[in-house]
């Protein structure tokens, strides 16, 4: 960031405000490109993972090598689809909802540090900001369901809102012990606090077993946050056609699709930042690996874990979903906060 800023002020002779705007624009373009690319790659990955887990191949023909071009072809196809807005729909809200859903995750992407000092928006409330703006997705989903004027859409949206708001509590609570340990809400500081190999990462159960439990609490809550199986209640295709995006076609549907995978990678990246040491290599001798690559590999591994869960477990019922959140995960997360605090006090790990 500093380098880019210096380039704009020094080489191009911009003043401070101009350079800031230029840096922000460049980062916005990079982030949006990476987001679209990651949606395409993860779609392909999801199909292959699902295929191999079910003893089949998944896409094999498009692009010759293991159907790598299938997702690209699908994206091109979806761009060419007719844009249909139902007659009875609330047109303004209907058009705005997909943008809001995508905006929620893109805003959160801004605060992710990919490498030391490579972050679009570097500020001290980073983690808090990420959780705050990712709540926009709930509003977008509710908006989409309401504006479609379709009972399935509305059911899906209502379920989505109930589920995502409920699971935000354990999600945020699971991160609190880490914030206590690093003494900062800035994602960069949290990563820097985990320097020095795999045993310094927050997930290490020997340093603090409560953080280890918190990681799993975070992971389960993040699956529910991204509306993926086994918690895909808002889009249960066997009951609700497609849930909140039933009435959407073409590019507007692509926005929801993009947002789903962008959110999936977002929550995985946050888990990698907060629990798995961000851009640090697992062992001290591996400093030659580019930090961003370390970070992306961790994110992709967590995405794989997410897909693995999705293609293994059957969907839960609405009451089971709420039971799990309010009666199991919130108490356990609270216990983790208290336990981790006591543990850190006892061993003098608090900053």
């Amino acid at each position: 960031m500093k380098l880019m800023y210096d380039f704009f002020t020094g080489q191009l002779g911009l003043d401070a405000a101009g350079a800031n705007i230029a840096v922000a624009s460049v980062m916005a373009v990079i982030m949006f490109t990476v987001m679209a690319l990651c949606a395409i790659i993860l779609t392909w990955m999801e199909r292959k993972v699902a295929g191999f887990m079910q003893s089949r191949y998944g896409p094999m023909y498009t692009g010759r090598f293991h159907g790598w071009a299938q997702a690209v072809a699908d994206m091109l196809k979806i761009l060419g689809k007719e844009d249909i807005i139902p007659t009875e729909a609330d047109k303004g809200l209907f058009k705005f909802a997909p943008i809001l859903v995508l905006l929620g995750s893109l805003l959160a992407w801004a605060a992710i540090p990919w490498a030391p000092d490579f972050v679009a928006a570097d500020f001290d409330l980073g983690l808090f900001y990420i959780f705050a703006v990712s709540s926009l997705v709930v509003i977008g989903i509710l908006m989409a369901g309401w504006a479609s004027n379709n009972k399935w859409s509305l059911y899906g949206a209502a379920r989505g809102a109930a589920q995502m708001i409920s699971y935000e509590i354990p999600l945020a609570l699971a991160v609190v012990p880490v914030v206590m340990r690093a003494g900062s809400l800035n994602p960069q500081d949290i990563v820097i606090a985990q320097q020095g190999g795999i045993w310094h990462w927050n997930i290490n159960p020997i340093t603090n077993p409560f953080l280890f439990i918190a990681f799993f609490m975070y992971f389960i809550a993040s699956i529910a946050e991204t509306n993926r199986g086994p918690f895909d209640m808002p889009e249960t295709e066997s009951e609700l056609v497609a849930g909140y995006h039933t009435e959407y076609t073409g590019m507007r549907f692509a926005f929801f699709f993009l947002a789903e995978y962008a959110n999936l990678f977002l929550v995985s990246m946050i888990a990698a930042l907060v629990f798995l040491g961000g851009w640090w290599a697992p062992f001290p001798g591996m400093g030659w690996i580019p930090p961003a690559l370390n970070f992306i590999i961790k994110g992709v591994l967590l995405v794989f874990l997410n897909m693995w869960v999705r293609w293994t477990l059957p969907r839960v019922r609405v009451d089971q979903l709420m039971h799990l959140c309010w009666k199991v995960m919130i108490p356990v997360s609270l216990l983790c906060v208290v336990g981790a605090g006591v543990w850190m006090m006892a061993w003098g790990q608090l900053k």
Binding site: V49, G51, F52, M53, Q54, S55, R56, Y57, M60, W308, V309, W311, T312, L313, K327, V328
Partner: protein, 168 residues
Amino acid sequence: MGQYFADIVAAVGSAMQGMAITFKHIYKKPVTLQYPDERQVMPERFRGFVHNDMTKCDACNICAKLCPVDCIYIEAEGKAKERVMTRYAIDYNKCIWCSLCTENCHTGSITMSHDYDHSVYDRRSLVYEFMDPRVAKIPCHRATRIEQGWWVEPKEDKPGAGDKGDDA
């Protein structure tokens, strides 16, 4: 309270068990075949599309008469040594793969092949013509066939046991 913790342990345990099973499947060879490129090997006596070897057939009409659904069309003209076959066609829309024709063919020309995937856009394309009279009319009499080099010795063993034509 005890039940509450027992439920959590059971849920985590069964989820782990399920995930172990799906993970094992990643390394297993997929059970599906890349169909047009890879094909299943059919058993020896598989009844695929009926195939007629025109170099052996002498238009005796046994198959057409035996056929319970009348799906074999044979046309011939002339008498005795001048008798020539002008049409041999099988309508696979009607064929019931009963194998009566192949079991009773005295020249062993008609066989069940291992072909099974003849999808077409028009059901008329499923009427297969085995010869074109404009190219050659096939003589039916033994002497004429030997003279013109068409004759192939009839097989001793039961037709259909070996020598499966796959080029229907």
